[in-house]
Amino acid sequence: MLIKILLIMCTLGLLVVLLQKRAAARTRAWKRLILVALVGVAIVSVLNPELTTEVANLVGVGRGADLLLYVLTAVFLYVVVGFYLKFRDVERQVTVLARRLALDEARLRQQGTEIDPQVDPAP
């Protein structure tokens, strides 16, 4: 079936992109393992959809597709909140950085060391 091939290709593509050597930080090792496991589960459930239905029945959900939707919703919300918190941190860091830069630059300017020729009109 075409859909199975497409889905598996998508999943494998994700794996390739995410496992490329960027920061070879050791801290990411466990994240990579989880990712590989996730891709494995995804491929198995694409090849054998009845499996997700069996898992769904185990936890009291009728269909595998429904279970997927519930899990997806929960994960999505966590991701949104996670991004929001991360974004707020980054915003704070940028603020600290920009203010530090502004103050240092102003002090230099007061001492007569012009470092930004844009500000004062050219002689």
Partner: protein, 224 residues
Amino acid sequence: MTPRDDVCVVIPVFNEASVIADVVRTVRKRYPLVVCVDDGSSDDSAAAIAAAGAVLVRHPINLGQGAALRTGMDYALSLEQARYLVTFDADGQHDVEDVPQMLELLDSGEAQIVFGSRFLDRRTRVGGAKRIVLAAAIRYSRASTGLSLTDTHNGLRAFTREVAGALDLQINGMAHASELLSLVARHRFRYAEVPVHIRYTEYSRSKGQPLMNGVNIIFDLLFR
């Protein structure tokens, strides 16, 4: 009246090139030490500030008025001569003649921070919708901070070094006014209010916050 050089006037500036030079010059007649924080303006505000003789502190990117105030206060605190800090709006809506009576209260030790209020006398006319939004903001601020003030969102304030050191504003946007009040309440600073005149000109009205911004402020405060 001789100029006072123990007062540092902090003016947050964002795209005010057409008026900022006049505002700075008027203020400097009484208080020569003026620090303008250019909050990443895209116009010629920075050049106008430098030409008018104020200290220019320039944010490389736009961070918001709260951050600009905090930066200006930090700069002022680095100047030993600055006993008192005054925050002043860049659009020319404040009257520098209102500042001496605020400083008197600081000089006498009666207050550590003095707020300007446009509602203590009848000099300032505030229009319909703006009045309603401000009234809501005032009620909210009173309820959340316990401070009894008549005008909680006025950019004209005067305070001591000690207070400036404690006003560690974390909210970059416009909600900093409420945050500032809650810091004053938490530190139990002695505060006072004096009537000030706000000149609503065509210019200040066009620069003023759209009313919908009130909604943004509420969200900033709830989800900080």
